[in-house]
């Protein structure tokens, strides 16, 4: 097997005595689309926080090696924007778009490119960038709403916009937190298709609750079940679904 692009080993994080993440091991391989499920409080969002520099682990290491056979980067030493610049993008659980800005501007601000103060001051959009923005707008189906204030979009549209913003920054790794929340069935399905189409080019981790959606996107990939801050089991969707422990802690709850 190839070298993992992202690996977390023996990671622990406590908040005021509460172990949000407990001796977690996680490996993501290039081009993989990984789905992470788990009950509330399993530590999914904290896990993303640790990967993106929002929180620092108490123990354990998180390493990122986008190019095989080069020294890996220790993510625990870096902060949010440094990690983003390495090519790890994140979509938040509650869509976080710039509500006061237009859809178009939201994407412009996310576009890959220099992030420095002076670069922003003297920034001009070239025609290649405009073409790319047009393509993105079409991809996330917000072409006709490009001048809308993002705050006025529906919940699902905001999710799409945020995915668009994520793509605009052309990351290697996409961390996607509950992309289907607030979407209609049809929108959800299209989101799944989009994610599937991105796999291969990007390495993707999706956290999700909606089981039919999970089933849709994990058709080729692995599913990881988190429970009480560590991995409960990992495998194909069907295997996981039938795993007794999973049924007990997670799916079992859904039945009652």
């Amino acid at each position: 097997m190839s070298h993992p692009i992202l690996q977390a080993e023996d990671v622990t994080k406590t908040f005021d005595g509460f172990r949000a993440i407990n001796a977690l091991n996680f490996y993501l391989f290039p081009g993989e689309l990984r789905t992470v499920i788990g009950p509330n409080g399993a530590g999914k969002s904290t896990f993303f926080d640790l990967l993106t520099g929002r929180a620092k682990p108490d123990t354990g290491g998180i390493e990122y090696s986008p190019v095989p056979d080069t020294p890996a980067t220790d993510l625990t030493k870096l902060n949010e924007y440094e990690i983003q610049r390495l090519g790890i993008g994140r979509k938040f659980q509650t869509p976080s778009v710039f509500a006061e800005h237009t859809v178009f501007t939201n994407l412009v601000l996310s576009l890959k490119g220099p992030r420095g103060v002076f670069a922003s001051l003297f920034h001009r959009l070239d025609s290649a960038a405009r073409d790319r923005l047009d393509a993105l707008l079409k991809l996330v189906r917000l072409d006709d709403k490009r001048h809308w204030k993002a705050g006025l979009l529906s919940h699902g549209e905001k999710q799409w916009l945020e995915i668009g913003m994520l793509l605009a920054s052309e990351p290697r790794v996409l961390l996607v937190d509950e992309p289907a929340a607030g979407m209609t069935d049809e929108e959800t399905h299209r989101t799944g298709e989009l994610l599937l189409s991105l796999a291969g080019k990007h390495s993707i981790v999706v956290v999700e609750h909606d089981m039919s959606f999970v089933k849709q996107i994990s058709i080729n990939g692995q599913v990881t079940v988190l429970h009480q801050g560590s991995v409960l089991c990992e495998g194909k969707f069907d295997d996981v679904q039938s795993h007794p422990k999973v049924r007990e802690v997670y799916l079992g709850r859904g039945k009652n």
Partner: protein
């Protein structure tokens, strides 16, 4: 309180003394005649006449001169043209009129118009007489007389004070008097003072050995007055003999190291007291700003409301009970709840009128409440006048206790105790009452709390009023320490915001630790750096401290985004 009891005790002792004197005085004693002459002498000769009373033993002299010095002695004119020195006291029947108590025998002057032999006292209308004048030279002369007389005073503390003064005057002629007293003195405190005073006078003794013994004794006694005298002696030309120089240096060292210790503990106490003041001021803010997130720039003015309430209660007590009554001294106790309620009501109006609309815009509450603060200041100015108002401390908050030379001022002790009490009260209110539970619920998530049926509006209202009331209490306490005027709120507002921020917003315990810390650091720095630099450094220190702990001393952790 102690002080109050002492005052009562003194008063009683004085009366007892007078009563005894009255009984044992068959006719005008020679001492009494001399006193009378001094009282009635023309101003130019009064000083000499009073000095003539030094050493004269007569029970009337001390009360007479004490009253004179305090501006409470009157010359009551009689129809025969004579004038009788007397103090005025309320008439036993409780009327408007005052009775004149002759200082010569302590008895009421009989009314000359009444039938001879009857006991009708002479009644005098208030303010119809002016007290006998005093001047600084006169008072100094009286003090000399009283000091000598005070050596034999029934009260140990009067004896001690008089003896200390006599010692400092370093007049050899007092030596026999002091030594004679030492033989019969029983109180250990007074004996120490006597020994010191004798040693002080003996510093100039002709005998070398006596001088050496005196130096050693004073060094042992940690006398500050001796220290400055020692320095003078060491610097004198020609210098004292070598063994005396050595003794002086050793004694000086002993004294100075003692006072270093005293000052250290003094600083600690002062720090604790300054911290308690800060704490009282900041506590209300820790609730309204820390817990509720309202930046209330009018918080200082809520304190002023408390301070002016105290002023009003004081005046009420004066007009109902009179300024000299025992009841007056309890006005401050009555003022505390009034201050709390008054400030809470103003706070309530503020919350209902303005702040309730701004919970989602905390930074804008800053602007609106600043507007309120300006308007309130002008209101104080128009209602109470632009000048400061006069607040007289009750007797039990005046003065201080000394423990091994460290002074503990009663008002400071009170503030420390009161601050502790208020902190405990706040802790109880927040953690042990259902309101406290609701408060914490609402403060954590206003919307969620109202969803589960908490009446957030009412909780907000109560919490804000409570925080405002605490500001009122702080204002009442401050009225005993500093000035009360329209601008007093501005003096403390920045300090208190800094306390809350460095303690950690949303954490009352943090404010407690932060205020005590800031107070102590400030007081410890002051002797080294001066008052101004200390005040400048504190904000800078807080900025640097927040570098280390951006959330304050006790940050509230939350997992929500932003």
């Amino acid at each position: 309180m102690l002080r109050f009891l002492l005052t009562l005790f003194y008063g009683f002792a004085l009366w007892a003394g007078c009563a005894v004197a009255a009984e044992s005085a068959p006719a005008v004693a020679p001492g009494r005649a001399q006193l009378l002459a001094a009282l009635l002498a023309p101003p130019a000769e009064q000083v000499a006449a009073i000095r003539g009373l030094v050493g004269v033993e007569d029970a009337a002299i001390t009360p007479a001169l004490t009253a004179w010095r305090a501006g409470e002695l009157y010359l009551v004119p009689l129809p025969d043209g004579s004038r009788v020195p007397a103090t005025l006291a309320p008439a036993p029947n409780g009327g408007e009129q005052l009775v004149a108590l002759s200082v010569l025998d302590g008895t009421a002057i009989p009314d000359p118009a009444a039938a001879p032999g009857s006991a009708t006292p002479l009644l005098i209308a208030p303010k119809s007489l002016k007290p006998l004048d005093t001047t600084a030279p006169l008072r100094r002369a009286m003090r000399d007389v009283l000091e000598v007389a005070g050596v034999a005073d029934p009260s140990p503390s009067v004896r001690r004070e008089s003896i200390e003064r006599l010692g400092q005057s370093r007049k050899p002629e007092h030596l026999p008097l002091l030594q004679a007293r030492l033989v019969i003195e029983k109180s250990p405190v007074v004996r120490t003072a006597l020994a010191d005073a004798i040693a002080f006078i003996q510093l100039a003794d002709s005998s070398h050995t006596v001088r050496l013994a005196a130096i050693a004794a004073l060094g042992e006694a940690h006398s500050l007055a001796a220290a400055s005298r020692f320095k003078e002696l060491l610097a004198a030309t020609p210098p004292p003999p070598p063994d005396e120089t050595a003794a002086l240096t050793a004694a000086l060292k002993k004294i100075e190291s003692h006072w270093k210790t005293v000052n250290f503990f003094g600083d600690l106490f002062r720090g604790l007291s300054a911290g308690s003041v800060l704490l009282l001021i900041a506590l209300g803010l820790a609730i309204t700003f820390g817990l509720m997130g309202v930046i209330n720039m009018a918080h200082g003015e809520l304190m002023v409301v408390g301070a002016y309430s105290t002023f009003v209660v004081q005046n009420l007590f004066v007009s109902v009970f009179g300024a000299t009554s025992t009841a007056f001294h309890f006005y401050f106790i009555a003022a505390l709840p009034v201050a709390f309620v008054a400030a809470a009501l103003v706070g309530l109006a503020l919350e209902r009128g303005i702040i309730q609309f701004l919970y989602k815009r905390p930074l804008e509450s800053l602007l609106a409440t600043w507007g309120v603060s300006l308007a309130l200041q002008q209101t104080f100015r128009l209602v109470f006048g632009p000048a400061n108002v006069q607040i007289n401390a009750p007797a039990w908050l005046q003065g201080s206790a000394a423990l091994n030379d460290v002074l503990f001022a009663y008002n400071r002790l009170f503030v420390i105790g009161f601050a502790a009490l208020v902190v405990f009260g706040v802790w109880l209110a927040l953690n042990r009452t259902s309101l406290g539970l609701l408060v914490r619920a609402v403060m954590q998530n206003r919307q969620m709390a109202s969803c589960i049926g908490v009446r957030a509006t009412r909780v907000n209202m109560c919490t804000f009023a409570f925080g405002s009331g605490l500001a009122g209490l702080a204002g009442a306490c401050l009225s005993q320490l500093g000035n009360v005027g329209p601008g007093m709120g501005q003096l403390h507002i920045i300090d208190s915001f800094m306390v809350v921020v460095s303690g950690g917003v949303g954490n009352v315990l943090g404010s407690v630790v932060a205020s005590l810390g800031i107070g102590t650091v400030d007081q410890l720095l002051q002797p080294i750096l001066g008052a101004v630099i200390g005040k400048v450094l504190v904000p800078f220190a807080i900025i640097l401290f927040l570098q280390w702990r951006p959330g304050g001393l006790f940050p509230t952790r939350s997992r929500s985004l932003d």
